[in-house]
Amino acid sequence: MYPEELKYTEDHEWVRVEDGKAYVGVTHYAQEQLGDIVFVELPDLDEEFEMGDTFGVVESVKTVSDLFMPLSGKVVEINEDLEDSPEVVNEDPHGAGWIIAIELSDKSQLDQLMDSETYKKTLE
């Protein structure tokens, strides 16, 4: 359920480092807790955030939740498909439901994230 190549945060976000970029999304657990997602508010390209900053918002039928930066960096890609099909986050949270990609400003922060095993334990 929680791919081993991903890193995880306590705020239930995941990170996948690929081609020097870090893709960010919410975990299966998060989408399940939120319920049917109806809107994802994305940041602008080139916006810079610190680790822990709010970079967007997910709205589901039952709640609204902030998205927190798992790492510091600059937004280099946003998943525009989510504007019309936010439900992709429910359907494929760790894949097509990615939210943004960032250029990391401090790679060492990756060490502060959890691996799949550790994350799974926090959910128990």
Binding site: F39, E41, E59, V64
Partner: protein, 449 residues
């Protein structure tokens, strides 16, 4: 005490006390309210009155008031004595509308929801904006919410606001800003207009919003285009316009000058002045900002049989959903007032509203010229004005006011508490309700006092 309208009597009180093991009300209070905060002794009240006596007394007290309806009112500043067609009272007094509270359950509230939908549509047509919400408390709270929304959208904290914006609205903004950590920069007016140059110097890449009012608090018509262009000096800066809905019958709508949030006081649309409230605020924005809008939005949809229906469509920003992360504090709207506003706009129609605006414009300017020609009075600000204008007297305004009230006129708002150096300056508002005879008598009265 036994009373015909109080359901509890001595016997039932005794029974309730006994069931909790007490013998008197005194004992009940004694056990729970600390001694030092308890009132001791008897309340100093007169003997009870009969219903007839009470009514006589209250009528006497009420008669000391000088209600606007019994005076010739030149009071404005956002709330003005516009004519209210009789049909509006009839519509808002229907119990289906009048008695319902937060009627958002689509199954039982189609009438209310449809009306709010119509209100939103009418506000969009009037302002030229894409979306409008179900209404706010009043113009001042609408502006404060607009400022919060701009800050939440841009994630910036600096608000640049012209001092020609209603001073009470600015005070409300300051109150909200204080608690949310916004930096509010006020730009002093320049001869009654927004100082566009000075405003431009304050707009930078940290600026969340530029705020101006049109017509401004002094009644002067601003040129919105150069103010709107100041947005380019910022990075994500939004433009917020405070507008008088009646003025939009003759003035350029916010949608035509790249405004992001248009809002204002809705009282002029079919709502009585009634001692300052309840009124309503209207709030409109661009489609791009719809998810950040405070309050609630009603939308049109289809029911299971494919028939047209209405539902609450968006209310995501409110505190009962977002809790401590809510960007807005408003969890309600002014449905009955919005009903009156929608009924007003529907009754007037496009041409009717233009006519009302034309009457205000012409009558106000007629009186402005008359007063400017009076000895002892000047009209200090040049340039076009809509339904309000500023007058400067060469003697104490308070005494002018007192004498004019005795003659049955409410002469206007004293500007001294709001602006430095405007000691005997006052703001006169002329609506379509004023007759030529009233205007002539008012001018003659001013000359004589």
């Amino acid at each position: 005490m036994n009373h015909q309208f109080l359901p509890n009597n001595e016997a039932s009180r005794k029974e309730m006390l006994e069931s909790i093991g007490l013998s008197s009300i005194e004992e009940l209070f004694g056990c729970c309210i600390p001694e030092q905060v308890r009132f001791k002794g008897e309340l100093d009240l007169p003997e009870p009155l009969s219903e007839m006596e009470a009514r006589r007394l209250l009528t006497q007290i009420a008669n000391v008031n000088r209600p606007a309806s019994s005076m010739v009112s030149f009071l404005g500043g956002g709330v003005a004595d516009h004519y209210i067609p009789a049909a509006i009272d009839h519509i808002v007094s229907r119990s289906e509308f009048y008695t319902a509270y937060t009627p958002y359950q689509a199954e039982v509230s189609q009438g209310t929801l449809q009306n709010i939908f119509e209100f939103q549509t009418l506000i969009c047509m009037l302002t030229g904006m894409d979306v409008a919400n179900a209404s706010m408390y009043d113009g001042a709270s609408a502006l404060a919410e607009g400022v919060l929304m701009a800050s939440a959208t841009t994630r910036l904290d600096k608000i640049v606001i012209s001092q020609t914006v209603n001073p009470q609205y600015r005070e409300t903004v300051q109150t909200y800003a204080q608690a949310t950590g916004l930096e509010v920069v006020e730009i002093p007016h320049k001869e009654g207009l927004t100082d566009v140059e000075a405003m431009g110097e304050e707009v930078d890449d940290q600026t969340a919003a530029i705020v101006f009012q049109n017509p401004n608090f002094f009644g002067q018509v601003e040129d919105p285009f150069p103010i709107s262009e100041l947005k380019e000096k910022g990075k994500k800066t939004l433009l917020i316009s405070v507008v008088d809905p009646i003025s939009l019958g003759v003035l350029v709508p916010p949608g035509d000058y790249d405004c992001d949030i248009a809002l204002g006081e809705g009282q002029p649309l079919g709502n009585p002045v009634s001692f300052g409230g309840p009124h309503l605020g209207f709030f409109a924005a661009t489609q791009k900002l719809v998810r950040k809008m405070p309050g609630r939005l009603i939308g049109q949809t289809k029911d299971v049989d494919g028939q047209r229906g209405f539902v609450m469509t968006l209310q995501t920003r409110e505190q009962h959903i977002r809790r401590h992360r809510a960007t807005s504090n408003i969890c309600t709207n002014q449905a009955l007032n919005a009903l009156a506003a929608a009924a007003y706009l529907n009754l007037m129609g496009k041409e009717g509203l233009q006519e009302v605006a034309q009457h205000c414009l012409q009558k106000a300017n007629y009186l402005k010229e008359k007063i400017a020609a009076l000895p002892g009075y000047t009209v200090p600000f040049e340039g076009p004005s809509f339904k309000e204008f500023v007058v400067k007297a060469n003697r104490p305004f308070t005494s002018i006011q007192e004498k004019m009230v005795d003659r049955g006129f409410l002469p206007g708002i004293h500007l001294q508490p709001y602006y430095e150096g405007m000691e005997d300056w006052f703001l006169v508002c002329v609506t379509e309700s004023r007759t030529r005879d009233e205007l002539d008598r008012f001018a003659a009265g001013l000359e004589g006092v």
